[in-house]
Amino acid sequence: MNSYLIFSYAGVALCGIGVFGFIFHSHLIKRLIAFNILSNGVFLILVGLAQNAQKQPDHLPQALVLTGIVVAVAATALALVLIKQWYAISQQTTLPEDQEHQ
């Protein structure tokens, strides 16, 4: 087992933690953090798996992940703007669907 494959499994674990946090929390910012952890896990799997097959650094998935990181930060910024806007309207940091179940 080389280190590329080990990090793919670490990516799998990060994905699992991300999915757990995304479902478990109703606080929107915590959900966003879990979502970011999930995306980091996907990036690790993407690069680790490709490099494990080739047994050498693979530049194409690396470039894809690089663009992915930049798009992810833009999406996070937009989500935070939306969450703040939602708080300004409703004074809540959770969605109405989650409030009913509490």
């Binding site: 499994y9 670490a10 915590k30 930049v70 930060v73 833009a74 937009l78 935070l80």
Partner: protein
């Protein structure tokens, strides 16, 4: 020995992720998320991906972290402090646990599948490097082989900035500078800011032949702008929103213009002629760096401009 380092890194990474997801206080969750980003930056180096490591350290740990902290600081304490509902929601906990375990099982099965490496895309990438105008494969992919992707990515960033601008509540962007009467900070900044700009330009220049490039340089530039803003200096967007919008579309328009110019020579969109490839890529990267820095900075400023308390009072 190397395996031990990898396993230790992974153990720390997973603990950070668990602490971040399970901590009740939002501030703690954010701090552990920032640490997770720094850990990931080291892991990307172990994965032989120094470009991603640079981007992760600057964006994942830096810009994302400050965006989260900024949002957290604006919420009142009862929305960020200990969060009592979390432990009561038994059904939700089990549902989340089952979903997470099944995700992990499916992904483990997928990772275990042997990939068939019949097509090695790496070989043609290295072989065509001479024709791309740069010496670093990742820059060649981003700005030559798959430049259309990168063009659209810049368009996505511009679009995010436009949406954020349209969500603001005030007609004019108010920069309420958090003026810190701190002469030491200002004295330090006169040293640090030129340094940050220099690092950013170095990363941009280095991108042609070694790890670095527009994304990393742009995020360092954004960090410099944010530091400048937080120290209470006046920024040009104080007076003119036009500067803001101009900065957003600058990179995209230079990119498009170079792309359209290649159409006149009879080639496809963004197919630079061989002798001009290096120069075109440098101009595009320079413009894109400035725009990425400016867009990330304005996203930070715009998210600060949403006032959270008085809107409801106005409505009532």
């Amino acid at each position: 020995m190397n395996e031990l380092i990898d396993l230790a890194l992974i153990a720390i990474l997973l603990f950070m992720a668990l602490f971040s997801v399970l901590s009740a206080v939002l501030f703690k969750a954010i701090i552990f998320f920032i640490l997770l980003g720094l850990m990931l930056a080291i892991i990307w180096i172990r994965l032989d991906a120094p470009d991603i490591a640079l981007a992760e350290a600057a964006i994942g740990a830096g810009i994302t972290g400050i965006l989260f902290l900024n949002a957290q600081a604006q919420l009142p304490p009862q929305h960020t402090q200990a969060y009592t509902v979390s432990m009561c929601k038994q059904s939700r906990f089990w549902f989340a646990l089952i979903a997470s375990l099944s995700t992990m099982i499916v992904l483990t099965l997928a990772v275990n599948q042997p990939l068939n490496p019949t097509i090695s895309i790496n070989q043609p990438i290295i072989e065509q490097l001479n024709a791309s105008g740069v010496e670093h494969p990742i820059t060649a992919i981003l700005l030559n082989y798959r430049s259309f992707d990168t063009l659209l990515e810049i368009a996505v960033l511009v679009q995010v900035a436009v949406i954020a601008l349209s969500l603001r509540q005030h007609e004019h962007i108010k920069i309420h500078s958090p003026t810190l009467p701190n002469p030491l900070l200002h004295a330090c900044l006169t040293l640090f800011l030129p340094m940050l700009f220099l690092v950013s330009m170095y990363l941009l220049w280095a991108g042609a032949s070694q790890p670095g490039g527009a994304f990393q340089a742009g995020s360092v530039l954004a960090a410099a702008f944010i530091l400048f803003y937080l120290a209470g200096f006046n920024t040009p967007i104080n007076n003119h929103e036009l500067y803001l919008k101009f900065g957003w579309v600058f990179g995209l328009s230079v990119f498009l213009m170079v792309g359209i110019l290649t159409l006149f020579t009879g080639d496809a969109l963004l197919a630079y002629p061989l002798e001009f490839a290096g120069v075109s890529i440098f101009f595009i990267e320079f413009a894109v760096t400035l725009s990425i820095g400016w867009i990330l900075f304005s996203l930070f400023v715009l998210s600060q401009n949403i006032s959270l308390s008085n809107v409801k009072e106005n409505n009532e």
